[in-house]
Symmetry: C2
């Protein structure tokens, strides 16, 4: 609704801002043409125009950001900071509010520190997973990254959005330790121990005296992060890997119940994900290589895909990291616990320091997951629906069936992954579609709305969502008449009285743009 | 300074509040006599009168707390919420600001939920470690507590102050998942997934959509926590325990450097602490059993104590938790890594499910650590100095020597513990003294001030501090002219405009009481 009500005001303010921004960053860092607007839109969304930015400005230093925020406050122009703008499935680089100016930080690419002994790095927002990986390789560093499936993006941006990877340090938001940020009024802040000017523990100590602010600046719009401390994992002596597959759709429940107790007991050190077979197939190639027809994938085609790829309906990979005798003992305990679920003896592969790297479990960035957007051919679309569930097989099974029915009613192949943690499941559902098939593209927004409503009715919230659904998801947090939304709004008004920073992000609107 | 400037105003407001509070909680839950004030003072501090409360009010329900906050807002009376008031070494139940009314929540003792499969509990603030332990025992529950050395206190209160135990879940603040609280305006809030009214993941999902507020309500004064979700550890199949000791004071550095890499690699699942020999001795009995003289413990007495107790200058216990083959493999790797530091072959003991419990590693609450306050005889005093260091042996050694010199100059036996984490050290220094020896008691505040100043100069902040030093520690966070203190103050003014909730806690003052 904000999109329409404030269009003219926002456009005027943005034009004013773009005119003045060149004085700070130079004309070559101000992007206000039509093709610039396209470049910063979310090309994977069903209607990119709903969230089209007014343009973009690239900043390279803290001082430039401070100066730009001052001008934005004066003009009343909303700014949408992006790290590298690769928030695929959740909006890419596009803003929640149409007409916002993108504040592009992708040129801030300094890796400020890598501490090999203490296992952390400090990065600027523009540092990508590939940048950091290359630096670690150059150094011959004993640290491993945790990377998301598609690793084109920013290390800091991914952590601030609480991205995830299948590695032990895979809860990326939880690895944050210490932020530097520019608040909307242009003032500079460091969180945690870094609030002490000469701190020696900024990026290692989480429990500094007083309230902890790091997580307030995740998935929010209260400041522009300019430096981020992130914990990295020491490279293990060896890894062992087990592939699991379950043949039936109905097997998800037992798949969850067999894994979460092992995860809780520390016998598995990462959140293994049960991925449905369409997910695996979508990494291999377009669906047309198996089926040229319209409509849902027929049952017999599904069977053929699973058979050809040698996979089950649900598929998971377990990885073990550490000294070989320790992980061999873990693998033996895990096999003993799981074996009765599987007809064949469970096998595992071993990787040792010095062997060539085998797969993404080692934190090597890749972009394999981007292949999936070609599933239907045409100009691929992709949006994520990502609720959190308790680690409970029966409830996971119900959520899967409910979601699958909605996909099928919308005529879209079901693709879900259930990442099983010690106490929760992050249930990532990818909605893949072809933006060139109007009836399909039209079905997506309605599908998303029904999925969010279904989840809320069952008591499940999202962990993250696309810009288009940010208000809808925020509205599901209804305890005490939406007390949390009010609190977030109050903090927003305190820190950003002119409402210039990322209005609408996570459904947090500043006063001047807030829905009545 | 607040103590003096606002004394009269605060006293008047408190008297008014105490008069009206009986209408909410009944006269038998209002405590305003002199002996009540004594009971809620910090009897372990060098001058309890500096932080004497005006009295106390006990509340049993959320509604009573809401009504009391309304009255406090009307009267301008500051309230200091305590869970059970056992914050020993950091102020007990006493408020930062003299004349504040203690809001005693120790009657809120409901254990609202224990989920044995998902490993969490939901408790009210008055639930003690003993209460929770007994409930788990009654249930025959497969969950283990993590308990602090002295476990008289509140489960919720300890977690909110970021207390620690030597168990795998020993970073108690980090186990918090989901809070219910009454904000200073009397409104009710639930954090995280609990912000959804019918949430099924309130106490299991940390990464709910939007900014994370849990840690903002730790070590702060922004709300009264009425329910707290806490993760508990599944009981292991077995444990193995190794005792380590190092003979010389100078050995601390290598003690740290031998442990943190093992902790970082997950071969040790808890933060083992190197405890100086006076600490161990103070658990055994008063110093008079070894030495009757005044002044510092002579070197030869120190040697005799270590010899009699069979301990080193520094002493640590390593515990391993899990299936026996897994922890046996870990123990073997750890022994191989450490053996060259020790003249004797390292030994370990084994505990298996069904064996009688051996020690506090199993999360059995105890009060052994309270013995230490009798070290000097008389009315024992005790205050904690608790800086955070990077996990670095050389730096830990320097910090130890610096601290020890200050203790010795003050004529007090050095007692320090260095809990070695993967990336940090929590360095707990206990200042034990006899409150009946004036020259000793007088030395303590100056000692504390010099320790805080030394640490700040070296770049180390505290993780927690006594009410008497809360402003001094807050002042050490000086990045960008104390940007963090300003931010905390702004949030305080937003949430608590009348400045009624725990003024001065962690150095966060409301506007009306803020130092100029």
């Amino acid at each position: 609704m904000q999109v329409l009500a404030f269009d003219a005001d926002v456009r005027r303010a943005a034009a004013l801002f773009l005119g003045r921004a060149a004085g700070v960053v130079g004309a070559d860092c101000v992007f206000g043409r039509n093709d610039d607007r396209d470049a910063y839109s979310d090309a994977l969304a069903f209607d990119p125009s709903l969230h089209a930015p007014a343009g973009a400005v690239a900043a390279e230093t803290v001082e430039e950001i401070q100066a730009l925020l001052r001008i934005a406050n004066e003009c009343g122009a909303p700014l949408w900071p992006i790290s590298r703008g690769k928030n695929f499935g959740y909006g890419g680089s596009a803003p929640a509010l149409r007409g916002t100016v993108v504040l592009d930080l992708s040129r801030m690419r300094r890796i400020l520190e890598i501490d090999e002994k203490l296992g952390y790095c400090v990065v600027e927002p523009g540092v990508g997973f590939f940048d950091l990986y290359e630096r670690l390789q150059e150094m011959g560093s004993p640290l491993w990254l945790s990377v998301p499936g598609n690793a084109w993006g920013s290390v800091a941006g991914n952590a601030l959005e609480r991205g995830a990877g299948p590695q032990p340090y895979g809860d990326h938001g939880a690895q944050i330790c210490g932020l530097e940020l520019v608040l909307p009024d242009g003032s500079l802040l460091r969180t945690g121990a870094g609030a002490m000017a000469n701190s020696k523990t900024w990026n290692v100590a989480r429990n500094a005296y007083g309230p902890g602010w790091d997580q307030i600046f995740c998935q929010s719009n209260f400041g522009v992060v300019t430096k981020l401390g992130l914990w990295l994992m020491p490279a293990p002596e060896a890894t062992m890997t087990m592939q699991l597959s379950l043949p039936q759709a109905d097997d998800l429940g037992r798949g969850v119940d067999m894994l979460y107790p092992l995860r809780q007991r520390g016998l598995i050190d990462h959140d293994p994900a049960w991925v449905s077979y369409v997910g695996i197939a979508s990494f291999v190639g377009p669906r047309s290589q198996w089926y040229e027809g319209d409509g849902l994938l027929p049952e017999e085609i599904g069977r053929r895909i699973r058979s050809e790829l040698g996979i089950g309906w649900w598929n998971a990979e377990l990885n073990f990291y550490g000294p070989e005798p320790v992980i061999a003992a873990k693998v033996a305990v895990v096999k003993a616990a799981l074996q009765h679920h599987f007809p064949q003896p469970l096998a595992h592969t071993v990787w040792r320091q010095g062997d060539p790297f085998a797969n993404s479990k080692a934190g090597i960035p890749g972009t394999r997951d981007m292949t999936m957007i070609g599933w239907y051919g045409g100009r691929g679309g992709h949006i994520g629906f990502s609720p959190l569930l308790p680690a409970n097989g029966a409830l996971a099974g119900e959520q899967f069936q409910r979601t699958r029915r909605r996909y099928e009613a919308a005529g879209i192949d079901y693709y879900g992954a259930f990442a099983v943690g010690a106490r929760t499941i992050v249930n990532i559902n990818e909605i893949l579609y072809d933006r060139d098939r109007p009836e399909m593209a039209k079905a997506v927004p309605a599908l998303m709305s029904s999925l969010i409503a279904d989840a809320a009715e069952a008591g499940y919230c999202e962990y993250r969502t696309h810009i288009e659904q940010m208000d809808a998801v925020a509205a599901t947090f209804d305890f005490n008449d939406h007390a949390m939304r009010r609190l977030n709004g109050r903090l927003k008004d305190m820190l950003d009285p002119n409402g210039i920073l990322a209005p609408g992000k996570q459904g947090i609107w500043p006063k001047r743009l807030r829905p009545r």
